[in-house]
C-alpha cells in the first residue's frame, strides 16, 4: 500500500518472518471447521455435561439494593429432602477481579449486599427443581442502607460508601484526567465551537447460553472446572486464588460457548462457588444460571453521561476536544478501571487532533456491575464525537464525508495521546460506504421522514500491556504433528463464536500448505493448552494468530529441512501448498505433506513446536499511558438509511452499508459475520436496548421485555472488507469483532437528523421519544 511507504521504523517492525502467503488458504470463504457441530446441535456446551453423583447449586439472591445482612436462616432449605449442602459468602472471603488494582468482589456477599440480585448463599440439591425450591425457602434478614442509584448520588460525598474501605470522597472507582497539547489555545483558534451533552444507556450482552460452571473434585485433591468463559486464564487464576489452591491443582476447561460479547470475561460466582461446593461436598456440582440471573451477572455497557466540546476551523479541521464522561458502573469494579480509560483514549482516532483533554469518572452504584460489552467504553463517546462531526460539517457547509476524509490520520502517525497507528484504511472505508449508499447524491435530499447518516470509528487490536504485570507471552500456541499428517493445535484461546478456532486452523494450514480441516484445534484447557489471555479487547486474531504463525513456522522449518535434504535443495527453495512440499521452481518435484512429516520424524524425531506472541514495546511518549496503546488499530465507516413514521415515531432502519479495515481477511465469511454481528447489536442499542430500573430493581430481566432485534428488525447489511495489511498483524490481519460496533449507533443518529432535523442525543431512539421530539419541533 502506497500510504505505508513513509512509516517510521516502529510501524514496520515485522512480527513474523514476513514471507508472502502461499498456502492458498487466506481470504477464502471456508465454512468454520467447528461450524457443523454447532449447526447440528452436536457441540458440547458446559450445561450438556453430566457427571455421576452430580448435584445442582442454586443461589439465594439479595432482594435489597444496599443493606447489611443481619441473619441468614437456611434451616427450612436444609430440611427439604434432596438438599445436600450449602455455601455462604463468608466461606470464600478472598476478593478477586481481573484488574489487579480493583479487586473488590467476593463470590457471594459477605456482611452486606450491594445490588438486587447479588448472590448471598448457594444451596446444593440432587436436582435443579429441589435446589430452586430450597433457595426460595432461605430467609435473609436485612438492615437496609441508603441505596446509591444515580450518577448524581454516586458523586455526592454525603451518600454512604458502597465499598466502605474506599478512601475516595464519594463512590468513585476511578477518575482519569489526561490532557495533551493546549486545549484552551485550540478553542481560541477555532472558528466554530460545538458543545453538548449526550446520554448513552446501559445495555447487556444477551449471550444465548447462560453462565454455567461444573466442578469435579478429583481423587488426588485437585479440581477440574468446566466453565462457559471467554477468559479461561483469568478464571483459572482467580478460582485457584479464592479457593486457596495452587494454580497447577486447578484444571479449567472451556467447552463450546454460546457467545459472550464481553459478558463472560470476568470470573463469576458460578465458577468459584461450584468449585468450592464440589470440594466441600466431595461430589460434582453444576451451577447453571437462569436468564434472570444473567441479567444480574451483567458486566454490560456502562450507562454514560457525556459532555463534549469541540473546536473546528472553517475547513473542518479539529482544533481541540474537551470531553467529560461519567459512567454509572454498578456495585463492583469488574473491568471498570479500564472502562474509565477507554471512554477517552480512542477519541483522537481517526481524526487529526493536537489538543485534547478528557476527564472520566467510573462510579459505583447499587446496581448489577457493568463491565466490558463489545466495543468496551468506546461505543458511548463515539456517538457524541460522530454527531459533533456531522453537526460541524452542516454548520460549516461541508460534506460530512469529505470533512472526515480530510481529517484522517495517516499510517505511521502517532496521535496526540501517543497511540501509534501502523495501518489506516479509514478513507477507503468511507469511500466504500459513500459510493455504495449514494451518500453524496442522496444525503439531505431524501425528503421528510427519510434519511442517510454516516459515521466512522477506530478500535484497538488487543492491549499492548497485559492486565497483570508480566513479561510473558500474551498468546501461545503449541503444535503436534502426527505421522498421519494430522496437525493438532493447542491454544488457550476461547472461541466464543467469533471464529478463533477456525482462525488458528487457517493460519496454521496456510503456513504448512494443508487445509484448515486437517488441523485439529484443542483450545481452552489449562491442562493441555498453553496460556492465552482470552477473548477480550479484540486481541485474539492479532495475538494468538501471531503465536500460531510462529509455531507453524517452526514446524515448517523442521519439515522443510528434512525435505530439502531428501531432494538435495535448500530449504528456502521449497513451497508448502496443496498438502505438498515441493521445489518452488519445479512444482512437480516434491513430496506429500504426510511424507514430509515421515521424513522429518525419521531425521529429527517427533515433531512438536511452540510459538508465543507479545507485542513489541513500541511504547508511548507518555509514561502513564498504560491503557489504550495497542499493536494496531482497525477502522470502520458506516452509512445508515432510516425511515421515520411521523404518526407513530417508529424508526425503521432500511439498510446499513459498512466497510471495515480488518487489515487482512483470513476468512472473508467469518469477517463479514463479525461485522454484521456488530451492526446487529448496534441496531439493538439504537432502537430498543436499555436497562431500565424501578428504583433499584431492573424492570425487565427477561428476553421478552429486554428487546433485542429479531430478523424482522435487522436491516439489510452490505459489508465491505478493506485490507490494509498491517505490518505487525498475522499476514496483515487486525480485528473485526468489535470495531464495527462503534459507528452503527452514530450512523443511525446522524440519519435520524437527516430524516427529522432533530439531533437525538439519547439512545434508544424509541417511538415515544421520536414522536415527542417531532411534536416539539413542529410547535
Amino acid at each position: 500500500m502506497s500510504e505505508n511507504d513513509n512509516r517510521p521504523a516502529w510501524a514496520t517492525y515485522p512480527t513474523h518472518t514476513g514471507e508472502p502467503a502461499e498456502g492458498g488458504v487466506l481470504g477464502r470463504r471456508d465454512a468454520k471447521i467447528d461450524g457443523r457441530a454447532r449447526i447440528v446441535g452436536a457441540a458440547v456446551f458446559t450445561d450438556d455435561l453430566k457427571l455421576p453423583r452430580m448435584v445442582f447449586g442454586k443461589f439465594v439472591r439479595s432482594t435489597q439494593a444496599h443493606a447489611r445482612i443481619v441473619a441468614v436462616d437456611v434451616s427450612a432449605a436444609l430440611a427439604l429432602p434432596g438438599v445436600v449442602g450449602f455455601a455462604t459468602g463468608a466461606e470464600l472471603p478472598k476478593k478477586y477481579g481481573v484488574i489487579p488494582v480493583a479487586q473488590d468482589e467476593t463470590a457471594m456477599a459477605i456482611g452486606k449486599v450491594r445490588y438486587i440480585g447479588e448472590p448471598i448463599v448457594c444451596i446444593a440439591a440432587v436436582d435443579e427443581e429441589t435446589a430452586h425450591r430450597a433457595a426460595r425457602a432461605v430467609r435473609v434478614t436485612y438492615e437496609p442502607l441508603t441505596p446509591v442509584l444515580t450518577i448524581e448520588q454516586a458523586l455526592d460525598p454525603k451518600m454512604p460508601h458502597i465499598h466502605e474501605a474506599s478512601r475516595k470522597p464519594s463512590n468513585i472507582l476511578r477518575r482519569v484526567f489526561q490532557e495533551y497539547g493546549d486545549v484552551d489555545a485550540g478553542f481560541a483558534a477555532s472558528d466554530l465551537v460545538i458543545e453538548d451533552v449526550y446520554e448513552y444507556p446501559g445495555s447487556t450482552h444477551v449471550p444465548l447460553e447462560a453462565h454455567v460452571a461444573l466442578a469435579n473434585p478429583e481423587p488426588d485433591g485437585k479440581l477440574t472446572l468446566w466453565s462457559s468463559t471467554q477468559n479461561p486464564h483469568y478464571v483459572h487464576r482467580d478460582v485457584a486464588h479464592v479457593l486457596g489452591m495452587r494454580e497447577q491443582d486447578v484444571r479449567l476447561i472451556k467447552p463450546a460457548i454460546g457467545a459472550g460479547y464481553g459478558g463472560k470475561c470476568d470470573p463469576f460466582c458460578t465458577d468459584i462457588v461450584a468449585g468450592h461446593l464440589a470440594r466441600k461436598l466431595g461430589r460434582p456440582v453444576k451451577i447453571s444460571l437462569e436468564r434472570e440471573e444473567v441479567f444480574y451477572a451483567h458486566r454490560g455497557r456502562h450507562p454514560t453521561r457525556m459532555w463534549l466540546k469541540m473546536g473546528f476551523k472553517r475547513d473542518g479541521s479539529i482544533t481541540a476536544i474537551d470531553f467529560k464522561a461519567w459512567a454509572d458502573g454498578g456495585a463492583y469494579a469488574s473491568y471498570g478501571v479500564v472502562t474509565s480509560y477507554y471512554l477517552g483514549v480512542f477519541m483522537p482516532l481517526p481524526y487529526r487532533l493536537e489538543n485534547y483533554r478528557f476527564e472520566s469518572h467510573r462510579l459505583y452504584t447499587n446496581k448489577p456491575p457493568c463491565g466490558p460489552k463489545r466495543g468496551h467504553g468506546a461505543v458511548q463517546p463515539r456517538l457524541a464525537l460522530e454527531m459533533h462531526i456531522d453537526r460541524a460539517a452542516l454548520q460549516l457547509g461541508l460534506d460530512p464525508a469529505g470533512m472526515r476524509k480530510a481529517n484522517c490520520i495517516e499510517a505511521g502517525s502517532e496521535t496526540c495521546n501517543g497511540l501509534k497507528v501502523t495501518s489506516v484504511g479509514m478513507r477507503e472505508c468511507i469511500d466504500a460506504v459513500v459510493a455504495a449508499s449514494g451518500y453524496a447524491e442522496r444525503h439531505g435530499r431524501l425528503g421528510p421522514g427519510r434519511g442517510l447518516g454516516l459515521a466512522a470509528s477506530a478500535y484497538m487490536c488487543g492491549a499492548l500491556h497485559p492486565v497483570y504485570q508480566n513479561e510473558l507471552s500474551q498468546s501461545s500456541v503449541q503444535l503436534k504433528v502426527d505421522r498421519s499428517g494430522e496437525v493438532t493445535l493447542f491454544s488457550g484461546t476461547a472461541d466464543c463464536g467469533q471464529g478463533s478456532i477456525h482462525m488458528l486452523a487457517a493460519l496454521c494450514a496456510e503456513r504448512l500448505g494443508i487445509e484448515p480441516a486437517d488441523v485439529r484445534v484443542i483450545e481452552g484447557d489449562t491442562a493441555l493448552t498453553p496460556v492465552d489471555l482470552g477473548s477480550y479487547s479484540s486481541r485474539v486474531t492479532f495475538m494468538a494468530g501471531n503465536a500460531c504463525i510462529s509455531a507453524s513456522d517452526r514446524v515448517r522449518e523442521r519439515l522443510a529441512s528434512a525435505v530439502a535434504a531428501k531432494l538435495g535443495v535448500e530449504s528456502s527453495a521449497l513451497s508448502f501448498r496443496g498438502r505438498r512440499v515441493f521445489v518452488t521452481s519445479e512444482p512437480e518435484r516434491g513430496v506429500s505433506f504426510v511424507d514430509a512429516v515421515w521424513l522429518a520424524e525419521e531425521m529429527i524425531g517427533p515433531i512438536g513446536e511452540v510459538g508465543g506472541y507479545k507485542p513489541h514495546k513500541i511504547g508511548s511518549r507518555f509514561r502513564r499511558q498504560s491503557v489504550g496503546p495497542s499493536p494496531a488499530y482497525s477502522f470502520t465507516a458506516q452509512v445508515a438509511e432510516v425511515s421515520v413514521d411521523p404518526e407513530t415515531g417508529i424508526v425503521t432502519i432500511d439498510k446499513i452499508w459498512v466497510a471495515h479495515d480488518c487489515g487482512r481477511a483470513i476468512n472473508r465469511t467469518i469477517v463479514e459475520g463479525q461485522i454484521e454481528g456488530c451492526v446487529y447489536m448496534g441496531v439493538g442499542e439504537a432502537l430498543y436496548e436499555e436497562q431500565r430500573y424501578r428504583g433499584a430493581m431492573m424492570t425487565s430481566p427477561s428476553l421478552l421485555e429486554y428487546k433485542i432485534p429479531t430478523v424482522h428488525e435487522t436491516p439489510e447489511i452490505e459489508t465491505f472488507i478493506i485490507e490494509t495489511h498491517d505490518p505487525n498483524g498475522p499476514f496483515g490481519a487486525k480485528e473485526a469483532g468489535e470495531g464495527p460496533q462503534l459507528s452503527t449507533v452514530p450512523a443511525i443518529a446522524n440519519a435520524l437528523y437527516d430524516a427529522t432535523g432533530v439531533w437525538f442525543r439519547q439512545p434508544p431512539f424509541t417511538p415515544d421519544r421520536v414522536l415527542a421530539a417531532l411534536s416539539r419541533k413542529v410547535t
Binding site: E129, S288, M697, P709
Partner: protein
C-alpha cells in the same frame, strides 16, 4: 436454567372426565402450554395437576350452516392456513399469525389464546423478582403497583385473536360435567385483571364458532418487534354493514377487557377510541404514547377497510 415446578399430568379422552378433574383443587387445563409453562416457571401457577386438552378431540376445522367450527385445541398455525379462514376470515388468519412467533404458533391453540391470562409488567416476572417487589394484587400480594391507591388489578387483556373474533360475532362453546353453554366471545370477558374471564373452573372451552357472513374486519397489532412481542395496541375494525351505518372497533392490550367503540364515521371512530382507552405505561412505552397510538391504529385499520 429456570426449572418447571413439579406437577402431575393427566390426558383424559373425554370432556366430562376433564371437567371432573378440573373441578378438583389445584388442577389446571393445559392446551399448547406456550403461555402457561412460562408462567409456571415464573411460579405464577404451581398446579398440582395439569389436565391436558391434547386427547379431547378438540382439534380440527369444519363448516356447518354458515358457521366455521374451530376446535379449541386447533393450533394457531392450522387456523391461519385453513383455506376457508384465508378466503372468508382473513383478519382471523392475520391475528393468528401475529401471536408470538411462527414456532410458537405451531403449539399455541386458538382456545388457549381466547383464555390467555391477563398480563402486567409487575406480574409476568420471575418469582425472585416478584418477591423483591413484594408481590402484587393479582398474585400473592395486596397492592397493585400500577395503581397503588386503586382497588383493582389492571393486568391487561392481551389475546391477539379476540378483537377480530369479537367483531366477527364469534361464539365460544364451554362444556363441563354439568352441561354445555354457548356464548358470544364479546361476553366472555370483564374489566377485572384478576377475574377477567366469565368462567367456572370446571368448564372447558371446546369449540369456537365464527359466522362466515361476517363483515369485513381488519386486524392490526402494534408492537415493538414484528415477532415475539405482545401488543402495545391491538385493534380490530369493521366498517358499516350498510351505507351510513355504524363503524365499530374493538381495542385490546389497553385494559383488562377488550373495549368496544362505535361511531358514525371512520374519523369519529378513531377519536372515540382515543377517548375510550386509557392504556398504562409498559416497559418500553409510556401511556401517553400508547394512547395516541390507539387513534393511529384505529384510523389505519379503518383506512384499510376504505
Amino acid at each position: 436454567m429456570l426449572p418447571l415446578p413439579s406437577f402431575q399430568y393427566e390426558a383424559p379422552t373425554d370432556v366430562v372426565e376433564a371437567s371432573r378433574l378440573l373441578s378438583e383443587p389445584g388442577s389446571q387445563l393445559i392446551a399448547g402450554g406456550t403461555d402457561l409453562l412460562v408462567s409456571m416457571k415464573h411460579r405464577l401457577f404451581e398446579p398440582r395437576l395439569l389436565v391436558s386438552a391434547r386427547r379431547l378431540g378438540l382439534r380440527g376445522i369444519s363448516e356447518h350452516a354458515g358457521w366455521l367450527e374451530i376446535g379449541a385445541a386447533t393450533t394457531l398455525h392450522d387456523v391461519a392456513r385453513h383455506p376457508t379462514v384465508l378466503a372468508r376470515l382473513p383478519a382471523l388468519a392475520a391475528a393468528c399469525r401475529t401471536v408470538a412467533t411462527p414456532t410458537i404458533q405451531t403449539m399455541a391453540t386458538l382456545g388457549g389464546n381466547l383464555m390467555l391470562d391477563t398480563r402486567c409488567m409487575y406480574y409476568n416476572q420471575p418469582a425472585g423478582w416478584r418477591a423483591t417487589l413484594g408481590y402484587c394484587l393479582k398474585r400473592e400480594g395486596t397492592v397493585c403497583h400500577v395503581a397503588p391507591k386503586g382497588r383493582g388489578c389492571y393486568a391487561t387483556h392481551s389475546a391477539d385473536t379476540v378483537p377480530a373474533l369479537w367483531l366477527m360475532g364469534a361464539e365460544a362453546e364451554f362444556s363441563s360435567a354439568r352441561g354445555v353453554r354457548r356464548v358470544a366471545v364479546s361476553s366472555m370477558y370483564r374489566e377485572d385483571g384478576i377475574a377477567w374471564l366469565r368462567l367456572e373452573r370446571d368448564e372447558v372451552l371446546t369449540r369456537v364458532f365464527v359466522p362466515l357472513d361476517t363483515r369485513r374486519v381488519v386486524h392490526r397489532k402494534l408492537r415493538t418487534r414484528q415477532a415475539i412481542d405482545y401488543a402495545q395496541v391491538l385493534v380490530a375494525v369493521a366498517g358499516p354493514v350498510s351505507p351510513g351505518g355504524t363503524w365499530t372497533a374493538v381495542i385490546s392490550s389497553v385494559s383488562s377487557s377488550p373495549i368496544l367503540v362505535e361511531a358514525a364515521s371512520a374519523a369519529e371512530l378513531s377519536e372515540a377510541a382515543f377517548r375510550a382507552c386509557q392504556p398504562l405505561s409498559t416497559h418500553l412505552a409510556p401511556a401517553t404514547w400508547r394512547k395516541k397510538m390507539v387513534r393511529v391504529e384505529v384510523a389505519r385499520a379503518a383506512a384499510l377497510i376504505g
